[in-house]
């Protein structure tokens, strides 16, 4: 009964979303307080309804209720509990339900925290949110219903795709969706502003925290996905410029641009129209990603089962929302008030530069991702736009951007003094150059590009620290004063510094692993040794092992340095019994920031094929993203973002209380 109740709740959520789509807009046009006030109530109601539906599906997974087709297709009674739960979104239908759950969760957050928003803006934004919710609820109910039943119920399920049976599945999709869907708030606010024909000051204050929240989640989600692919697929790569990866990277790039332009808008009321456009673009790219991944245009781990009607349906959603938003933008943009002006050399100017580079980079990735698809659709010929294209286009675009990053936070608003900033960055530049020279020196024959790349990373790190030091008054005040001022700095200053610092760390990781990693493929018999980097690996042989729902052959390697063994690595080849599907479990040994990565291949008469990678500093790539995400969270905790609220003022507390 819980299953059917969940199904019923989902249908009712659609009914609520439809009401929420229409009534508040009428309310805002007719200035009717009651109709506008319905929007938050409806948002919270549909959140609870979708939550109920999601809980019902989860309960079916937990109890292995194979009378639910979705459970039968993707679960198995022997699966460990964590994968039974994460398996809920390890498939097309369930993951769409999670998508919608997060969407209504964000709507509910707006309803909850939006007490200080102008009523019309809130009503319209929530209505737009409800349009998206309705479209996706219709999509789920009509083409991808997770509550389809089976009679008679099969006695055993077909198990989850083994590649997905990993902790990664419990973390990566929810984070990624928080990111994707979080941008829907920016989109809804942008469209609401266009409907209303005005951009309130509160609008500017609202867009940044939501962008920040979405961006933080998306950063963490992409990084998690990258690390998951790295250790699970056994190819030793951390980024493949795969269309599915690009699908998540494009909203990230656009979102990063939005984050920075929202900053300008909040502080200076400039770039308003541009920010509206970016908000629309960012969420459009999220939708495009959803379309690419779900329509069956692409084949990948993410593509689950595909069905043409689904593709057409999502394409319809895509066209209506993106087309509609851009049309509205074209009609209304002229009527929006333009913001303030500023000099080219100023923090605003630096942020515009950032935006130009980021949007160009987004466009590059978009072209690289869509061109092969369009070409195939039109002419039927398959081409592959791989890493070479992106390295040649995306790479050069990033270099000047990264070089410019440390200047931004140091420039003053409105009018900046580039020379003075350059002086402040002397130390940073000096250290970076020293690092570059050191790299060249210690690895004679190392590619110069690698040295430069690492220098850029060091430049970012030092630049972010310089920013903090300068703000604390380094060179002008004594240490105790500096400490006091450092403590008094707004959290967003730390957030900025952390994020830029993390970017530097990631850049160093990327460059180091690209330039200095080594790969070997060899055939080893038990007792034989392989040398990788400074380490020797002795193959100890294969032995069988049985897990809860798989059997595996484990290969063990004793790792030694200078003749002294200090660790073992276990890599395995697994066969999942239900699907008879083999997977490779890479053995990874983390040594400081670097990793030794071992994957087993086939067995031959000469021994076992083994791939060994030595990946110096590879973990920097993901540590950097952790810094970025933490920077996002720190920034989000900034007092000023919370204050955007009129309710903070005592004078108005009474009226605000009544209004909500």
């Amino acid at each position: 009964m819980i299953v059917e109740l969940g199904h019923y709740a989902l249908v009712m959520a659609l009914a609520v979303a439809l009401l929420q789509s229409v009534l508040p807009v009428i309310g805002s046009v007719r200035q009717d307080a009651g109709l506008m006030a319905m929007a938050p109530a409806a948002a919270v109601t549909s959140f609870f309804l979708v939550l109920l539906a999601f809980a019902a599906l989860t309960a079916s997974y937990v109890t292995s209720d194979f009378s639910v087709q979705n459970v039968w297709e993707n679960s198995h009674s022997l699966k460990p509990m964590i994968y039974k739960i994460s398996g809920v979104w390890g498939n097309h239908e369930g993951s769409m339900l999670l998508w919608i759950l997060i969407l209504v969760f964000f709507s509910a957050l707006v309803a909850f925290f939006g007490g200080n928003l102008p009523a019309a803006l809130k009503a319209n934004a929530l209505a737009v949110q409800a349009w998206i919710t309705s479209a996706f609820l219709l999509f789920v109910l009509l083409t991808s219903n997770p509550f389809q039943r089976l009679t008679p119920a099969p006695i055993e399920g077909r198990d989850l795709n083994p590649i997905l049976q990993d902790v990664g599945l419990a973390i990566h999709p929810p984070l990624l969706y928080l990111g994707y869907v979080g941008f829907s708030i920016c989109f809804s606010f942008a469209v609401a502003a266009l409907i209303d024909g005005r951009i309130d000051a509160a609008w500017a204050r609202w867009v940044r925290p939501w962008t920040l929240a979405a961006w933080t989640a998306l950063t963490a989600g992409i990084a998690m996905g990258s690390y998951w692919a790295y250790y699970e697929l056994g190819w030793g790569g951390w980024w493949f410029w795969d269309p599915v990866e690009n699908a998540s990277f494009m909203p990230w790039l656009a979102g990063t641009a939005l984050l920075h332009s929202a900053l300008v808008m909040e502080k200076r009321e400039a770039l308003k129209i541009w920010t509206v456009l970016l908000a629309i673009i960012t969420f459009s790219l999220s939708l495009l990603g959803t379309f690419l991944v779900r329509s069956g245009v692409l084949t990948s781990v993410h593509a689950f089962a595909t069905d043409p009607t689904r593709g057409v349906f999502i394409l319809g959603i895509l066209v209506i929302f993106i087309g509609g938003a851009f049309t509205l933008f074209a009609l209304r943009a002229q009527s929006l008030k333009h913001g303030g002006l500023f000099a080219p050399v100023s923090r605003e100017g630096a942020l515009v530069l950032n935006n130009l580079f980021l949007t160009t980079a987004t466009l590059t990735v978009l072209v690289g991702t869509l061109y092969p698809l369009v070409l195939e659709a039109l002419t039927g010929s398959k081409i592959s736009v791989g890493p070479p294209f992106f390295n040649l286009t995306f790479g050069p675009l990033m270099v000047p951007l990264l070089l410019a990053v440390p200047f931004g936070p140091l420039l003053a608003w409105k009018r900046g003094d580039l020379l003075a900033v350059c002086q402040r960055l002397y130390a940073a530049a000096g250290i970076s150059l020293l690092v570059a020279l050191a790299v060249v020196y210690f690895s004679t024959g190392a590619p110069v590009m690698a040295a430069l790349g690492i220098a850029i990373g060091a430049w970012l790190i030092c630049g972010s620290l310089t920013d903090l030091a300068y703000r604390a008054g380094a060179g002008r005040a004594g240490l105790p004063v500096m400490w006091q001022r450092l403590k008094g700095l707004p959290r967003s200053a730390f957030g900025t510094a952390l994020a830029h610092f993390g970017l530097g760390v990631s850049v160093i990781g990327i460059v180091a692993v690209t330039a200095f990693s080594t790969e070997q493929v060899m055939t080893l018999k038990p007792g034989e040794q392989a040398v990788s980097g400074p380490f020797a690996l002795e193959f100890e042989g294969l032995r069988p092992n049985t897990g809860p729902n798989y059997t595996e052959l484990q290969g063990r390697f004793a790792v030694s340095r200078d003749g002294a063994q200090f660790a073992t690595i276990t890599a395995a080849k697994r066969v999942y019994t239900a699907r008879r599907m083999p997977t490779t479990e890479a053995g990874i040994l983390t040594i400081g920031p670097s990793q030794l990565y071992v994957a087993l291949g086939d067995e031959t008469p000469d021994g076992t094929v083994v791939r060994i990678w030595w990946k110096p500093w590879v973990t920097f790539i993901w540590f950097g993203t952790v810094f970025m995400s933490v920077g996002g969270i720190v920034s989000l905790l900034d007092r000023r973002l919370r204050v955007g609220a009129p309710a903070a003022s005592k004078a108005r507390a009474a009226t605000a209380g009544q209004a909500t």
């Binding site: 059917e4 109740l5 199904h7 019923y8 249908v11 009712m12 009914a15 609520v16 439809l18 009401l19 009534l23 309310g27 007719r30 200035q31 009717d32 307080a33 009651g34 109709l35 506008m36 006030a37 319905m38 938050p40 409806a42 919270v44 109601t45 309804l49 109920l52 079916s60 109890t63 292995s64 209720d65 009378s67 200080n116 102008p118 009523a119 019309a120 109910l141 039943r149 119920a153 006695i155 055993e156 005005r198 309130d200 000051a201 509160a202 303030g340 003053a412 608003w413 409105k414 008054g473 700095l489 055939t523 008469p605 609220a645 009129p646 903070a648 009226t655 605000a656 009544q658 209004a659």
Partner: protein
């Protein structure tokens, strides 16, 4: 029934939650510009804080104050919109909610849902359906659940193993037989069952493992027709036709003439005779699959086919001597046909093409050891 009661409660709750804001007599709404003004006040306060903490210079602060002040002035000037309180519109909206929400929910749900269909958690089902003896899969599932918690119950495995085999779940059958043998000891039926499971998994080939199982069964119960049959088949597949013939003939002699396996035994005997005839000529040899296929043919067709295949392979290898798999196949073909000299000759020619220590040479040496063409190295 319970379902509809709960659904009704859910519907009423949702409807009420939407009606409350509509019904509430709306209090005075804030003008949009008041919100703007508040943001600007806050920005002014922020500038003060920045001066305090020394983040911006006094001059910059003045500029910023002036700018925010201008925005504030503008905001307070044009407060045009004032929301209307409760209106006839609200009443209309209330009717829309009351009618649309339950109607849409019920109609929509009836279109896609299965009202009242109970949830069927696996644990509950296995306990709830013990009497339904007709459903073999349910019985198996029950036994599996039982064995999952009592994996040392040998009797359970023993009962389950033949059922698996009949259901075609041969891998599970293998596991079950092995567990039964481990826990309850070796018996002829268990060993023979294990052998059958192994043969089915390998697609009809009597592997060394399967052979060992039947051997064990034969020792426990000499003359068991099942193990005799498969042991004989194994000999035939290895190309030891003379021995296979003897084994099949012995089985035929010990079996009643109308035994169900007799037709198969006779077919195999014919096939072996044909092979022995072919092997007498100076011809070639295909692998087990081809032999199996050849048994369906008449003897002329068969000798033609075999001769053609091996000759073709030999010729191909003269042109393309690097083909390791080809050489291995050729050597094996001769061995299957029981012609070790020819096999040895082919091996010699093959070895000329592979350097010492290369993978190819190693594989060929292995094969030679396996077929007894060269003395086997002592394994540690």
């Amino acid at each position: 029934m319970m379902f509809w009661v709960l659904a009704a409660i859910l519907t009423v709750a949702a409807t009420i939650s939407l009606l409350v804001p509509l019904a509430r007599s709306a209090s005075r709404q804030d003008g949009t510009n008041e919100h703007d003004a508040e943001v600007y006040y806050d920005q002014l306060r922020e500038i003060d804080r920045d001066i305090e903490s020394g983040l911006i210079a006094q001059e910059e602060a003045e500029y910023a104050r002036a700018e925010v002040g201008r925005r504030l002035l503008k905001a307070s000037k044009t407060d045009s919109r004032q929301s209307r309180a409760r209106s006839p519109l609200s009443t209309a909206a209330r009717y829309v909610v009351i009618i649309f929400l339950p109607l849409m929910a019920v109609v929509g749900y009836l279109a896609v849902g299965k009202p009242g269909m109970p949830a069927q958690p696996l644990a509950g089902r296995i306990e709830a359906e013990p009497d339904d003896g007709n459903d073999i899969t349910t019985l198996v599932a029950q036994a599996e659940t039982h064995l999952a918690s009592n994996p040392e119950d040998g009797r359970g495995w023993d009962v389950l193993a033949p059922i698996y085999l009949n259901l075609g779940r041969v891998a599970d059958a293998e596991t079950a037989y092995r567990n039964a043998i481990r826990l309850l000891g070796s018996t002829a039926p268990r060993q023979a069952g294990l052998g059958r499971a192994l043969i089915t998994q390998s697609g009809g080939i009597v592997t060394a493992e399967a052979q060992a199982a039947f051997q064990a069964a034969e020792e426990l119960e000499p003359g068991n027709p099942l193990s005799s049959f498969f042991l004989a088949l194994g000999l035939a597949q290895e190309g030891r036709f003379a021995e296979a013939k003897l084994a099949f003939e012995r089985l035929a002699a010990n079996s009643p003439p109308d035994a169900p396996w007799m037709p198969q035994v006779r077919a195999h005997l014919q096939g072996i005779d044909a092979n022995l005839a072919v092997a007498g000529e100076a011809a070639p040899g295909p692998d087990e699959e081809d032999v199996a296929a050849a048994m369906e043919m008449s003897s002329e067709e068969r000798s033609e086919m075999i001769g053609g295949m091996v000759a073709g392979l030999d010729a191909r290898l003269r042109d393309n001597p690097d083909d390791l798999d080809g050489w291995l196949r050729l050597v094996r073909s001769y061995m299957v046909l029981g012609e070790p000299e020819k096999a040895g000759d082919a091996l010699g020619r093959a070895l000329e093409n592979f350097e010492d220590g290369s993978a190819g040479r190693l594989a060929l040496t292995r094969a030679a050891e396996q077929f007894g063409l060269i003395p086997q190295k002592v394994e540690q």
